[in-house]
Every structure is written in structure tokens, then in C-alpha cells.
Symmetry: C2
Subunit: 399 residues, 2 copies
Amino acid sequence: MEEREKDRGIMGPEQGDPGKGREQPASMSTPNSVMAKEEKGMEEREMKKEMELEMELKAEVKVELCPTVPGLQMSFIRGTDLFGYVGIEAVLDQMRRKTIKAGLEFNIMVVGQSGLGKSTLVNTLFKSKVSRKSCTPNYEEKISKTVKLHSVSHVIEEKGVKMKLTVIDTPGFGDQINNDNCWEPIVKHVNEQYEKYLREELHINRKRRIPDSRVHCCIYFLPATGHRLRPIDVEFMKRLGKIVSIVPVIAKADTLTIEERQEFKEQIRQDLAANGIRVYPQKEYDEDPEERILNDRIRESIPFAVVGTDKEHQVNGNKVLGRKTKWGIIEVENVAHCEFANLRDLLIRSHLQDLKDVTHDIHYETYRVRRLNESNMNYSELGLSTCGLFGNEKLSYIT
Amino acid sequence: MEEREKDRGIMGPEQGDPGKGREQPASMSTPNSVMAKEEKGMEEREMKKEMELEMELKAEVKVELCPTVPGLQMSFIRGTDLFGYVGIEAVLDQMRRKTIKAGLEFNIMVVGQSGLGKSTLVNTLFKSKVSRKSCTPNYEEKISKTVKLHSVSHVIEEKGVKMKLTVIDTPGFGDQINNDNCWEPIVKHVNEQYEKYLREELHINRKRRIPDSRVHCCIYFLPATGHRLRPIDVEFMKRLGKIVSIVPVIAKADTLTIEERQEFKEQIRQDLAANGIRVYPQKEYDEDPEERILNDRIRESIPFAVVGTDKEHQVNGNKVLGRKTKWGIIEVENVAHCEFANLRDLLIRSHLQDLKDVTHDIHYETYRVRRLNESNMNYSELGLSTCGLFGNEKLSYIT
């Protein structure tokens, strides 16, 4: 399987042997080229990884090959094997510039009964008035009779990176006497955004960048009861977890003692597992062992027990975001006080792009498959006719 | 049109005025926040740009807004207006890591009659034996009777970035007595890759990452005749320029004197314009004035007059890639000697991602539109049936 090109160095056939090439002093080489002797084990692991990649890539390619060398499908050329600097990694800067130019879109939904501090938390996350409180000061006062969805968009610019942030609020959720089916308008909204995207994607003359209104993340607020998940929590997350990335949080966690918090979190994790509820980040979508280790740590500590605020206080001469009580100041961003910082890191600093990717690659794709299979059967109701364009049987000869 | 939220700072309404906010000493701000007074003009341009972005974004969004504040659609929040560091720009690192993990694909095609140094040039570009010479040492000797396409793929790793490079060679092009329609196999190959991608994209159960065999760049080799474009050059580039990004180069440019080179280049530019030949980077696809200025400089100096080599020589104690003659050494990467470095910078260090983007956003999209319109009419020959799924008339109510 693993055929490497022997005569790899272009400046002389002596460089051909990969082991030898690695031990030569490297001018423009990868950082690990001189460590070959010391870290034999590591190198082997790396080699294995490279071989895996190679084989993976081999599996992907169908090229018309030089007929004279049938075995040579693809060889692997390392930095040390190159006879000078090429500049491949410049592509990372090219992408960076393009991303900065184009800007980002991020859509976050907050769900939970009123009074749990949803707006305050989102404002604390993005250090500005991005949630609906900002535009409707007395909004909280009137509780709507049904679940309504409200979206507010802001463009936030920080260090030259522009992000169009859309916060989708769900006032009325869980606030009724009878909350039967209160998740339905939310499920509908999430699916409508997939539908919108799908239609844009299928359009003949489609936009260069399809506007992305899909919900990248749904923060679900659990009241800090210290008890178990309530039926409404289970029913909501069971349904929504299948179509969107849910991040459950314990709201207003300042009412819990350290022990209560730990117990409550453990209880919730058990309830989530027992009910087969899928929350973000899902184990199935970890792409490699490195990601698995990182995400396992997150999975072990969800749901984050958070406290939000929009007030600053002086602590030891520093301004900190916090909530002042008669018995002390809860520093919202202090990991010793609450888990707000963990939530912020997950949503913004470490997993924002992954939330977008999971939305696109998993949730949207799942919707698309279901939708196209459906429309195959029953397309007339859509005003669309597909007549089996997407039918696997018709396209099977392509793969 | 330009409604900004007045009460922008969350910590106090005094920060609301954008002008004021900009002049405040910025802790977490954008780099230009303190330059407001000195560079009024620049700031204005920038403000205008931001407003344009804002309006552009406004045009894109259809959100259900807070009904109580009908005017407030989207406000712009700058770093200086935030009451602390959010960490939005961390997304750039997240993307970087993801790109490194996933690796890149880049497919380059070389076209030109035999003996113009196509393989050597590609090997010089990627500092390794990536072209067919490497696997068929005596290939050059036998000239094929028809134009054949040969693809060779290598994975090149440099500084941790892995790129699967595929070089598509076109032996036999222009080598016949009668070269009628010698571009046809090439046109066919380019279109077949679009077709493959399109079918993958339309598949119900499609791959997470569609394998990309589309030709991202076609280097067309002009012999250094010093005369005008030949009919075969015109016919080839006229056709291919419509479906792929063509970068014409003057091959083996060491036969031209400085004056000859300048004259020849000027002549070719005139001929390209006179024949309506579209070469990369095309003016129509410049995305902003900054890109236009950069690309204008490239457009003014194409076609690059290049010399390739796989030999190193000592010049003033340094090893340089060059061609040694009795009258001196041509240093291939020395911009004073030839324009190889300009070509390398364009293809790899500054425009590689753009070549991929133009391929995806323009050439592939053009193919897709044409193909779907066609298949609407005459789908049976494809084994596909679309029955107007993509028909604009049927989907028009969506937009």
C-alpha cells in the first residue's frame, strides 16, 4: 500500500532516503527535523499519522496516472525534502485576510423561562447590549401569551474582525400555565432557517455567499433548582438536540453552594444521559483524538453554572464584572466564582467556528438529506418538482 | 439609512457617541482608534467602508425585529464600545487550526508545446519533483500523437501545512503537424472535474468534504519568440479563459534581451486585449479597491518571463537556483534576472487561495448555472431528471 517515491530530493539522489533526509541540518524545514534521534517514538507516531493521511488521500483521488509507473500513486514530500522554501503556509494568511474582509456571521439562540437572566448573560458574553433588553427596556414586564421569536442583529468589531451577531430570543417559553408544545415555534424557526439555506443553495443563480441565518448554537437555561431536569427541559432538549447544537447552562448559579452546584451538575449529566439527550459538543463529531481529549473535559463539566452581570466593581483596584451582595462580590469572569468564563471560552474563544461547522456539516446536512428524500416523494406541496434528481438509485453510477 | 444605536456602551450612556468613543484612549480597541485626529481622511474612508458593510449586511438580513423599535435594524459595535475583551478574533486561530488539520488541495495544469520546460518550471515552483519527469525519465523523448492528460499528485508538507498538489500535464499539445482542436481534450477535462464536483454536491448523501479535482490554475507556456501570439495561443486561451484561470508565462525567457522581453510582453498584452482573452487575475473579480490596486500591478506585468531550473550554483558563497552559461549564471529566483519569483508569489504566496476561490465562485458556478439550465431542457441524456427543480420560475417566490 505504502509506496514512496525513492528519488525524492531533486538536487541529488542521495537525499532520497526519508530517514537520512530528516537528519540533515534543515534550513527551511519543519521544526521536528532535527529531533529525529531523540524522539524516535514521537517520530514514529507522526510517520504513522502521515501514512494514514496519505492513504486517506489516496483513497480519495482518482487521477489518470503515468502509465509507466503503475505503483506510484502519490508520494509524500516533507519540508526537509524540498530543495528550498516554497511558501505553502502563506495560504493561512491569505485565508485570514479573506475572513477578515468578508466578516463572520454567528447566530445564537437563548431559550429558558423569563427571569433567568438570558439577556444579561448574552450581553455579558459579548460585552455589549446585544440582546433585546437593549431595545425594549420594559420588555420583561409583559409576559407574552405564546412563545414568540425575536431576532436582533449587531455587527461587533474587535481587533479588526467583524462579526454579525444575531441573538434570537424566545420570550414566553415555559411561562404559561400550560406549556404543551411550547418548543414547536422554536423547532419551526430552526428548520425554517435550514430550509432557507437549502433553497438558496439549490437556486440556479445563487449568491456568492449564502446569507446564514441558521442557529449555530442554542443556549438552554436551567433554573438553579438543585433538583432534577424538569419534564419541560427533557422534552425541549430531546427534540432540539437533534436539530441544533444545544449548550445547557445553569442560570443564576449564585444561589447554589459549592456542594449543591456539584451535585446538581452531576444530576443533570445523569438525566441528560438517561434521556438520550444530545448536547454540544457531541462525542460522535469529535474529529480526532486530540479533539476528543479537549471535548471530554468540556463534557465532564457541563452544564456550566453561570452568573451574568452588566455592572463593574472595584476589586483590589481592578475593575471586574460582578454582582455585589452584602456578603461579597461575585466576580463573573473569575473561574473560582462561577463558570461563566468556561461558557464564554466554549462559545467564542475555542469552539465558535466548530459550532458553525457542526451546524453546516451535521445539522444542516441531516435536514437536507431528510428534506430531499421527502421532496422526492411529495414534492408538489413545496412548489418544487424534483422527480428523482436526488434519487440515489439514479445517481449511483457516479460514485 | 444609517441608524446607529445611541446608547451603545453598556457601562454608561456617555460612551454612546461614535466620534467620542473613537477619541477615548482605547484599551481593547482597534489599532486606529487613537489616530482619529491625525488621519481624518483615512478615518472617513474607513467609516464609509464600515457603513457600506453595515448597509450590505442590512440588505442581507431578514430578521424578525423588536416591534417596539422599528428603526433599529442593526447597530455597529466597535472594540472601543465594548466593556471588555470578547475574543472574537480567536475565530481566526480556530480556522487556522482547522485548515492545518484538514490540509489543502491545489490542482495546477500546465499547457504548452514540448520542450518549453513545463515540468522543470513546476518542479522549480514546488522545490521538488512534482511533475511527470520524475516518474517517467524518458518521457520527453517520445512525443505522443494526440493530446493526453496526465495527473500526478503529491502531498507536500511545509511548516506543518499539508497540501495535496496535483499537476496535470498535457503532453502532445501543439506538437502535431495539424493541431486542429488540440484544446478539446483539455476543455473536456476541465469541465469533467466541474461535473464531478456538481454531482457530488447534488448527491443526497454527500461527503463532508467534496474531493476537489477542479483545475485551480492553468499555466500556459508561450515560446519566447519575441513575435506576436500565434493562432494556437489565441484559440486556446480564448476558449480556456472562459472556464479556468489562465496564467500565461513566457517560457525559457533567458533567450530574450531586456528590451526584447519588454517589447514581447507589451505585444502579448495588446494581443490578449485585442482578442478579448481573459487571463487571471481578471478585473471583474477584484473584490475591493485594495485588491484592484494589487492586481493592477500584476496585470501590468503579465505574462511573466520565466526561467526554470533544478540545479543549484554558488553565487557569492550562497547557493542559488540557477542556469550556468559561459556568460554568467541566471539566478532563477532573482527578480533582477527573471520573473520566476513573481510567478511563484502569484501562484503560491499571495493568490493560491484566491485561485481556489475564483475557481469555486466563478468558474464552477458558471458551469453549474449552464449545466442546470441545460439539464432542465435535456436532462434525459444525463440519466438525471430535474423536471424544473432548479427552474427560476418555480423558485422565484423564495427570493
